[in-house]
């Protein structure tokens, strides 16, 4: 037994060493052997996926029709259906109701005044919970007004107010459908997988083609991005309803519909609200990316600032997104809780029962009438806005001037000793060897099925001619994940073992997670300029959270009895960690690793903005050139890498769980 184990270790070690040596000297070797094709996949062998997809898309948009209804009619109808409520809310919050076009435009009714919006937010906060929440939400909105972000923020808010109900409602319906039809779920599951792993950029291009540049495209993309978790959570939440409750519903003689809407969904409402919250957060995550295909508002401000490297403006707009996200998130959570309680019946006249509504309504009327005379009531005066832009610019300038050498030293150290060696190995490795190793890994982790999947997906990436870019992706992603794990897992373990550290670390992670991904990029670019190292830091920051969370969760969940067993055996705290806590938390830590990889991959496309040369860049270029085929193929390649990493790690985690007897 021991003999065999040793042999296995030796083989694994030998293969790893061969792989590294081969990778490091791959290029020279291929030149020496005059077989360059083993490193650089010849372009003559590339299959034309791109043009096939582009052609198919062109056909879909130009020729596809069922009878008299063409595909374009369908997309136009969808666009129209989304446009109507969007225009209404946009007019209400931002543009005002206008008749006529261009110079002849007449404002019939201005947008709702900032005072009324803040009052409404206060009232909602008070209604949902208490004055504390009201003040927090009110302060967030006041911040938007005072820091001159009001108009953009209202445009963003309007799109959130449209995307969230559609995403949450649609997700709920699809989830219900999948719950009722198990075959439906089987069909849906891989689609959802793909929707969540394909980077958003990849489907921005087809959407752009179907719906044109503008806020509707942005809304469609946002909805597609934000809906899958709602579908998943709905199906899961319905399945998790106590079977006794289902039995009760049946015994009470409910019809199928009554069972669903009066028993199951109300019983699952707490989990469903988690889903709605997810939709809200994802919608806000999309704000900046959506502005690439025509959403205005805060996202556009950030993107514009990033393009002209205006750190102050970008940071302020980014912060405004965070502030808006905090307000919307807290309000929606409290609202969900409030909906959970049935209203206490109050008595009295309409006014007495709806004090808050009446108050806000009165304010609205007042600002609309008196506002004609006193503009302050209508718009926050531009002269009174504050800006911190200059402060941020100065800070960065100061850091750059005074600490340039230090920053540079850190960057060079990481590049020379960490990143470049990995990159060289991965790019120099002959692809036949790489695929063989991947298949072997798949086979040892999950049997021939996984081996087949590994070989197949890697092969597809190869023949689509994206091998080199995929390797850069693997390198960037891999390096970031290693770094995120090295930093994140100890943090998580520490958070689990020390309550006070736990609180601080949790706060830090929460903050990281609420910041939109672009916000990381801005200061990092300022300090380290464009390049791989900048991308690395941005990705690590973005992908750190799950590594910490899962490690903490895993360590906390080790059964108390086992820890006590270790203690009475006389373990020192370190031994306890080394022999009991860490090994038992391993499956959980691996799941965290999985999530870290997923987040890292989704951040890759965004880092393409700072000049990485990977699949993300490929997608980004496709977007700017509106090249559907190129974007979709590159997007799928990223999805394939994500799927491979996911399956391999899950198989590994399962093996670990079986080894510990947590599963069989």
């Amino acid at each position: 037994m021991i003999q065999r184990f040793d042999r296995r270790t030796v083989i694994v070690l030998a293969l790893v060493i061969v792989t590294i040596v081969l990778g490091y000297h791959g290029r020279d070797l291929s030149k020496a052997l005059d077989m360059r094709w083993i490193v650089k996949y010849p372009s003559a062998w590339v299959l034309p996926f791109k043009s096939v997809i582009s052609e198919a898309m062109r056909w879909l948009i130009e020729d596809a029709a069922i009878g008299p209804v063409s595909f374009t009619d369908v997309t136009r109808a969808i666009a129209w259906a989304i446009e109507q409520p969007y225009n209404l809310i946009l007019a209400l919050l931002a543009t005002g109701f206008v008749s006529g076009l261009g110079n002849e435009a007449q404002v019939i009714l201005p947008a709702v005044s900032w005072i009324v919006v803040i009052a409404a937010v206060l009232a909602l906060g008070h209604y949902c919970r208490d004055w504390g929440l009201a003040l927090l939400a009110g302060a967030c909105f006041l911040y938007l007004a005072v820091f001159g972000q009001w108009d953009s923020a209202m445009v963003t808010l309007a799109s959130v107010l449209i995307a969230v109900p559609i995403g949450a409602g649609g997700g709920l319906l699809v989830g219900v459908w999948a719950y009722r039809h198990p075959t439906g779920e089987k069909i849906l599951s891989p689609i959802l997988d793909l929707m969540q792993t394909i980077p958003i950029f990849a489907y921005l291009v087809p959407i752009l083609f179907m719906f044109g540049f503008g806020p509707i495209s942005a809304l469609v993309a946002t909805i597609i991005y934000a809906t899958p978790p709602m579908v998943r959570i709905t199906t899961m939440a319905l399945k998790a309803v106590d079977p006794e409750i289902v039995d009760f519903g049946r015994m009470a003689g409910t019809t199928e519909r009554q069972l669903m809407w009066r028993v199951l969904i109300p019983s699952a409402r707490q989990s469903l609200m988690v889903g709605v919250n997810q939709v809200i957060m994802l919608t806000l995550n999309m704000v900046i990316i959506a502005s690439m295909i025509g959403a205005g508002g805060l996202g556009f401000d950030v993107l514009a600032a990033l393009r002209r490297l205006d750190i102050g403006a970008g940071f302020e707009a980014g912060l405004a997104i965070v502030v808006l996200a905090i307000a919307v998130d807290r309000l929606s959570q409290a609202f969900a809780e409030r909906m959970g309680r049935m209203p206490e019946r109050t008595t009295g006249s309409f006014v007495a029962r709806h004090k808050r509504t009446v108050l806000v309504g009165a304010l609205l009327l007042m600002t609309w009438t008196v506002g004609q005379v006193i503009p302050l009531l209508q718009d926050y005066p531009a002269t009174r806005t504050l800006t911190t832009g200059a402060f941020w610019d100065d800070t960065i300038k100061y850091l750059n001037v005074n600490y340039f050498d230090q920053f540079e030293a850190v960057k060079v150290f990481f590049l020379n000793w960490f990143m470049i060696p990995i990159k060289k190995v991965l790019l120099g490795m002959p692809w036949p060897w790489a695929i063989a190793m991947l298949v072997l890994l798949g086979w040892s982790a999950g049997g021939w099925r996984l081996a087949l999947l590994c070989g197949g997906l890697a092969g597809l990436i190869l023949v689509s001619g994206l091998w080199a870019k995929a390797m850069v992706t693997v390198y960037l992603c891999g390096a970031s994940v290693v770094l995120a794990t090295v930093i994140g897992v100890p943090l998580g373990v520490w958070a689990a073992l020390n309550r006070r550290a736990g609180v601080a670390i949790n706060l830090f992670i929460d903050t990281l997670q609420t910041l939109p991904s672009f916000v990381y990029l801005i200061p990092v670019v300022m300090l380290f300029r464009v390049g791989d190292f900048t991308a690395l830091i941005a990705i690590v920051l973005y992908a750190l959270a799950p590594a910490v969370r899962y490690a903490a969760h895993g360590v906390r969940n080790v059964s108390g009895e086992l820890v006590e067993a270790g203690l009475v055996s006389g373990c020192t705290p370190l031994q306890l960690l080394r022999h009991i806590r860490l090994p038992l938390a391993l499956p959980e830590i691996l799941l965290g690793l999985n999530q870290t990889i997923m987040l890292a991959l989704s951040m890759l496309v965004i880092t393409a903005l700072v000049g990485t040369r990977d699949l993300g860049q490929e997608v980004y270029i496709a977007l700017t050139k509106a090249d559907i085929g190129r974007g979709v193929v590159a997007g799928l390649a990223i999805a394939f890498i994500a799927i491979l990493a996911d399956r391999l790690i899950k198989a590994g985690a399962q093996q670990a769980r079986i080894r510990f007897g947590l599963e069989n």
Partner: protein
């Protein structure tokens, strides 16, 4: 058996596994080995029981014995693999969806182990729920619901939410809810198992009090043999999906069919199960005010032992049918198997 059969199941099988149906088609009564070899799991095997109108029929078994599955087959929450379930003489398994909904709305009520209250509704709304989904007139439904809430002793709690109540109170809501439609057939699936021992005892008394007023036909599931003995008119004991013995508590204790049944009855004090009818000398006449023949020994032991002469025993009609003396009682109280 003179009473009317309310609910009966004939040769009901529930097997889990892909081959369950083909196996039963080919072989109507497979053995335990055959079931295992076909890669199926036998949850209920060849169950035959008859439940009389107005009786408390307890199905008792340990976890995994199939009692929960059986009761769900009886209410058709689970579709049996084969067999018949006769409710008022009609096969419930042949009823279509609509008929089944109708039967459940008007003729069946069920109480669940973990209460299964809807968390978003108040006590009153929970109790009203079965009426609400039938679209019963609101005022009528509310009046009826208030009535049953009072019946189970929760008056004043109508506006509370389930989470604001103790376990015992929550189960009272569950009981009220299952009674609001005035069902003929009342299923109780381990209704008191999730409660603390003291509360459990109290709820058992409450249950007997309710049944004394309502005279429902009751199918009561429990894993607690003592509870079964306390409540049941008749008990069915299940093991590994099979019904091993169906009998009155007294007969179970006196004549356990298998060692397995004996294992349970061993720990039951005889005096709590035996009635005077099984103990008296038939035809003899004793002194003093006559005792009822159905009285449990434990309840009247003190009087009998205190009396020097045998006491008379009468039947329900007041006819003296025998006498019992202190020796017979002492044997039950202190003899073999008298205490756990």
């Amino acid at each position: 058996m003179s009473a009317k059969i309310k609910l009966a199941c004939r040769n009901v099988w529930k097997l889990y596994g892909a081959n369950a149906e083909t196996l039963l088609k080919a072989n109507p009564s497979p053995s335990a080995d055959e079931i295992r070899n076909a890669n199926t799991v036998g949850a209920v095997r060849a169950a035959n029981i008859e439940i009389e109108e107005g009786e408390i029929f307890v199905i008792m078994g340990l976890s995994g014995s199939g009692k929960s599955t059986l009761v769900r087959c009886l209410s058709r929450l689970i579709e049996p693999t084969s067999g018949e379930v006769l409710f008022d003489g009609v096969d419930l398994l042949k009823a279509d969806g609509k008929a089944l909904i109708d039967i459940r709305r008007h003729k069946m009520g069920m109480v669940f182990q973990h209460f299964a209250l809807l968390p978003h509704l108040t006590v009153l709304q929970n109790v009203m729920f079965p009426l609400t989904i039938q679209a019963a007139p609101e005022a009528e439904a509310e009046a009826r619901a208030r009535e049953v809430v009072e019946l189970v002793g929760l008056k004043g709690r109508e506006g509370n939410y389930p989470r604001q109540l103790s376990g015992g109170q929550q189960q009272r809501v569950g009981i009220a809810r299952s009674l609001v439609t005035e069902p003929d057939l009342w299923f109780l699936d381990e209704p008191f198992s999730a409660l603390d021992p003291l509360i459990r005892r109290e709820m058992q008394d409450e249950f007997l009090r309710l049944q004394g007023r309502l005279h429902k036909t009751i199918v009561f599931i429990t894993h607690d043999f003592e509870e079964a003995v306390r409540l049941a008119d008749r008990i069915a004991i299940m093991k590994d999906g099979e019904v091993i013995q169906v009998a009155t508590p007294e007969k179970l204790v006196m004549n356990p069919a298998t060692d397995y049944v004996a294992e349970f009855t061993k720990h039951i004090p005889r005096s709590k199960v035996l009635s005077l009818a099984g103990l008296m000398t038939p035809g003899a006449v004793g002194e003093g005010a006559p005792l009822l023949h159905s009285a449990k020994v434990a309840d009247v032991a003190e009087r009998i032992i205190a009396s020097d002469a045998p006491l008379s025993v009468q039947d329900d009609a007041g006819q003296i049918i025998g006498a019992v003396d202190r020796m017979a009682v002492a044997k039950v109280l202190f003899g073999e198997g008298s205490t756990p």
